[in-house]
Every structure is written in structure tokens, then in C-alpha cells.
Point group: C2
Chain length 142, copies 2
């Protein structure tokens, strides 16, 4: 039972998110807010509603994330001139900078987390998880 992939993903995932949250907290960020920046950076969504759909969260939740990221200067909100109901979110230079910092933190956490694995094993693990993510239609989100 403990050997179940699904069960272990749940336990390890909770630990991983905890570590990641602690790492980005000094930058005023929560994991899901980083997820939003990733979605923008990858060009997976433009409007807030699109972001909500891609991340699999309620649209009302995106409002708060966008408010916060805007406050950090990480994103800009602009009304879509073609449809003035839509708020188009774009990453600012500061946002890209923050995202780079988060990437570096993630790399560092990865090294710590996969401490007992060889570089080859680490690569295999990353590859297999990437395929699971694709299979689930999961681009990012947390």
C-alpha cells in the first residue's frame, strides 16, 4: 500500500510543496502564485479566466493572486481592447526576474530532495514525472 505510486505522490507532494512554500515565502510568494507566473511565462493563458481554467482553480481565487502579484510589480493587468471585460495578465521584467529566482530555488531544493539519487536516476525520475504530467494534462498550477 505504501508502495502505491498515487499514495506516495500524495505524501511526497505535500512535503515538496511545504519545502517550496518555505523557499519562496521570503519573496512574498505562495506556490500557487508562482504557478500563475509559470502559466503566463509559458503562454498558456492570457485572461484571468483562462488562468483559472489552466490552473484548475476557481476564477475568484485568481483575483487575489493577480492582486498580490500586481502589488509585487510582477504582473501587469490591461483591459483587452477587443473585449473590455477581459483582464489580460502579462509578466513584467520584475516578474521574470522573480520567476528566475524561483527556478534557482527549485533547482536547489531538487538537489536536496534527490540527495540519495545519482544524476542519472534524477534525470530518469524527472522524465517519468514529466510524462505523468503530460498524461494528466498538467502544465503547471500546484
Amino acid at each position: 500500500m505504501q508502495e502505491s505510486v498515487v499514495f506516495r505522490l500524495g505524501v511526497l507532494g505535500a512535503t515538496a510543496t511545504e519545502l517550496f512554500a518555505a523557499a519562496v515565502e521570503p519573496y512574498g510568494l505562495k506556490p500557487k502564485q508562482v504557478g500563475l507566473m509559470i502559466v503566463l511565462s509559458a503562454g498558456l493563458a492570457a485572461s484571468q479566466l483562462d488562468v483559472a481554467r489552466v490552473m484548475g482553480v476557481a476564477p475568484s481565487l485568481v483575483v487575489g493572486f493577480a492582486d498580490h502579484l500586481e502589488g509585487l510589480g510582477a504582473i501587469r493587468r490591461t483591459r483587452d481592447p477587443a473585449d473590455r471585460r477581459r483582464q489580460l495578465l502579462t509578466l513584467t521584467d520584475r516578474g521574470r526576474e522573480l520567476l528566475d529566482t524561483c527556478s534557482a530555488l527549485a533547482r536547489s531544493l531538487d538537489a536536496e530532495f534527490t540527495d540519495g539519487l545519482t544524476p542519472q536516476e534524477h534525470a530518469v525520475l524527472a522524465g517519468l514525472m514529466g510524462r505523468l504530467a503530460v498524461g494528466r494534462g498538467l502544465p503547471a498550477g500546484r
Copy 2:
């Protein structure tokens, strides 16, 4: 960034827990309650405080889990005769039965989750995640 093991574990883990929660819900169980049964089954803890330590949750949270599992007839609470403050939790026959059912559900979810992987890849993934869990001192929990 999306390729980070820690980040992907977070995203995949949340999805996995969601699936597992939906699978055990018809049996009146939440993932953490299953985790408690696993801890007992594996002999990792006896008293409620031990369970809380092993699972990494607050002792007050275990009270509710134990109440619920007792209500389902899955565990028994007995006062430790040597120290009457301690509640010793033990799995009943019904508890073992429920845990077996959860194991079957997990196996089925695993098959679905690792659909795109060969049996060999599935085994490699399970092995690597097992080593990550050991490295983190994670026996169970969810």
C-alpha cells in the same frame, strides 16, 4: 522550472491526493484517515501522540481521525494499563478489511495514473519514489 522534481511532485501530488480522496470517499474515509490506518498496520505507532508524530500532524487532529475510525469500527481505543493517560489504537478486523479495500483502490488508481508507462517504467518510478520517501523519513501520512 516546470521540470523541477519538487515543483512537479507538488502538482502531481495534489492531483493524486484528489483522486485518492474521491476513491475512498464512498467508504467514509479521507486520505489522512487511511494514512492513520497504514501507520497502525505497519506498527509505526501505538498511542495517539505517537501517531501524530509519525504523521507530522497536531495531536488534536488525531483525536478526530480516531473518533471517526472508531465510529466506522476500523480501530479500537484501549487505555494503556501501564499508563492510563495513553490511548492505544489498534486496527480491528474491519479496519484491516477496509485497508485492503483501499489498497485495491490504490492499485487501480496507479494503473490509471501510470497509463502511459510500461510496467518496467512503473516499477522504476515506484522504486525511485520509495527511496525519496526513505530519504525524507516518510513512512506514510496521507
